[in-house]
């Protein structure tokens, strides 16, 4: 109740000068998050808590990196993010430490953060802006919205435009490319891939690839090695947790009946460039497209 009263008073006081001096110096900023909730701040955020590694990257991309006061484990990009205090894992945050850092804006992850903890943060009076980009445009749009909330529109909109143009140019370049059937391996044991709805699935399509498991219902389907052999992809690309995991690909060398094995189209794409919905996906997509070009060249 006291918080509310204080907040109302602040709003009232902030509104007072508006009566005499226009424009208002500390203008209210609003944006709608990916759950459809409109988040309004009395003034642009100055202390941001990013509750997923992807959110951290996006806030930096929006030009508001210097305002980040809290991150979660595995927030390893950009390099400066490693120096920001961590509030635990994105699946279970230390709310006490988070409150201590006194953020004025929390960037949540729609499906990654536990709903009850996000609810608890809202109950404590913190504005939570939940994001989850599901498309290339979603990445750009998220950067724009974050920059609006942080008052860094100039940097944010420029970065969003750069990403949009980069993806657009890949799209133009590969629009008429010859299709290559692709199997993308997210994980090794159990064997996991992505469908066409997944952002990585969209990278495959962007590069003129045809995802052999694209029509499956689940976003990240678990499949059998037999299904991969049956689908007979022309190229196999793998990510994973680390950058050194050729053994994920060598397992396919035992099956020369797969076109990808026969033509030696087994490629590694650094997962950090492609598995987070951030501007680095542009670089990851370029790399991905090059691999498919390489496969086309071997025909």
């Amino acid at each position: 109740m006291r918080y509310l009263a204080a907040r109302l008073l602040t709003v009232f006081l902030a509104a007072l000068p508006a009566a005499w001096h226009i424009p208002l110096q500390a203008a209210q900023v609003c944006a709608t998050d990916d759950t459809g909730k409109e988040v309004c701040l009395e003034r642009p955020a100055s202390r941001i808590a990013a509750l997923s590694p992807g959110a951290t990257e996006l806030v930096w991309a929006a030009g508001a990196g210097d305002k980040v006061v809290a991150v979660v484990s595995f927030s390893d990009y950009p390099e400066e993010a490693k120096d920001v205090p961590s509030v635990g894992s994105h699946t279970r945050m230390d709310l006490e430490r988070l409150m201590e850092l006194q953020p004025d804006l929390v960037i949540g992850w729609v499906t990654g953060n536990p709903p009850e903890q996000i609810e608890a943060l809202r109950d404590l009076g913190l504005p939570v802006f939940s994001i989850e980009p599901r498309s290339f445009e979603g990445v750009s749009h998220t950067i724009e919205r974050l920059s609006q909330l942080a008052g860094t529109e100039a940097e944010g909109f420029a970065e969003a435009a750069r990403f949009r143009e980069g993806i657009g140019s890949l799209e133009r370049q590969y629009r008429n490319a010859e299709p290559v059937s692709v199997f993308y391996q997210v994980w090794d044991e159990p064997l996991m891939t992505v469908n066409n709805e997944h952002l990585i699935g969209k990278v495959i399509t962007l590069c003129g690839g045809v995802n052999v498991f694209g029509d499956l219902d689940r976003l990240v389907p678990r499949i059998s090695a037999e299904a991969v052999i049956g689908a007979n992809p022309e190229a196999i690309l793998a990510g994973g947790m680390g950058e050194e995991n050729r053994h994920w690909l060598t397992r396919w060398e035992a099956f020369p009946s797969i076109d990808a094995t026969a033509s030696d189209n087994l490629y590694f794409v650094p997962p950090s460039l492609i598995q987070r919905p951030t501007p680095r996906m542009l670089q990851g997509s370029q790399l991905f497209c090059e691999k498919l070009d390489d496969a086309r060249a071997k025909r």
Partner: protein
């Protein structure tokens, strides 16, 4: 009650008070005892007030209530089934609750709906076991136990199936729920009130429970109406467990270990054991949750891991020493 009966309860009450003070005083943000005291009396910065009054205190009370409920439910189940291995979860209650909670999580729902769904699952499991154990034949503890164990195994399979087909990003939340985690708890008051009421209700029944623990024949011979009493214990224990599971997921071990520990130390008088269970179970979970919050802060551990790690050696030591 006579002096030797009240003494252990007073000691346990003091212990639980100390545990709660510790739990409110310790966190990943360090505060001096003086600062915490100031906050309790309405002073301190607004950040300190938020930390103590909005985060630590409700969580401490929730942990106490959950631990107390589980321990009392365990003690009741052991009397009912006359089996030392009985605990609140052995009859498939936690399995039913888990299936309910995981279904809600799988649908992407959170908060109150997960809790409500868990409660519904626990009650459904209770009714199912009770109905099946009743069957066409007689209602015996061994039949009830066996039905419960088999139904629990069935729930286990359903849980594994759900974990296998659920999207990767929902898995961590589900696993935390299955291991038990007090950070799910909302308002602690309903559970605390329930715990208190049940302890009050059980006081006049202590004598009958003592007789029942020796066997239904003896109890009947001594004038206890066995069947209604058994029904009541079963429903009560189920309600307690369901409430606890709803608060904090399925926290194992408290219901099994706390009553046994107390029996080894205090003897098997239900009039003493049941309230003692409420206090000791609450204390154990408050301490365990404090550790879960701070051991590797800012990373948070599920409290179920800590209760097992604390409970197993203590229990084994007491068991070893007892003979």
């Amino acid at each position: 009650m006579s002096r030797p009966v009240t003494m252990p309860l007073v000691i346990l009450a003091i212990a639980s008070l100390i545990a709660m003070v510790l739990s409110v005083g310790i966190g990943s943000v360090s505060m001096t005892p003086a600062e915490v005291g100031a906050v309790i009396f309405g002073e301190g910065s607004s950040l300190q007030q938020t930390l103590v009054l909005d985060l630590r205190l409700p969580r401490t009370l929730a942990a106490f209530a959950t631990g107390g409920l589980l321990a009392v439910a365990g003690a009741l189940m052991q009397v009912l089934l006359r089996n030392p291995l009985a605990d609140p979860y052995v009859l498939g209650l936690s399995g039913g609750a888990a299936v309910g909670a995981l279904l809600a999580m799988l649908a992407g729902l959170g908060g109150l709906i997960v809790s409500g769904s868990a409660f519904a699952g626990a009650m459904l499991a209770t009714l199912m076991v009770f109905g099946l154990a009743h069957g066409t034949g007689s209602w015996t503890p061994s039949r009830l136990l066996l039905t419960g164990v088999v139904v629990a195994a069935g729930w286990g399979a359903v849980i594994t199936l759900m974990l296998a087909v659920s999207p990767a990003q929902r898995l961590p939340g589900m696993l935390y729920w299955l291991m038990g985690d007090v950070s799910y708890a909302r308002s602690p008051w309903p559970a605390l009130v329930l715990l208190f009421l049940v302890c009050l209700l059980l006081v006049p029944l202590g004598r009958s429970l003592n007789v029942l623990a020796r066997g239904p024949m003896q109890a009947a011979a001594l004038g206890v109406s066995v069947r209604p009493l058994e029904w009541m214990i079963y429903i009560l224990a189920s309600l307690l467990t369901a409430t606890a599971v709803t608060m904090a997921g399925s926290i194992g071990f408290v219901g099994l270990v706390v009553p046994h520990m107390l029996r080894l130390v205090l003897g098997n008088d239900q009039r003493l054991i049941l309230p003692a269970c409420a206090l000791a179970g609450g204390t154990l979970l408050v301490l365990a949750d404090t550790l879960a919050r701070v051991v590797i802060a800012p990373e948070q551990l599920p409290v179920g891991v800590i209760t097992a790690l604390l409970g197993v050696p203590t229990f084994l030591y007491l068991l070893y020493r007892s003979r």
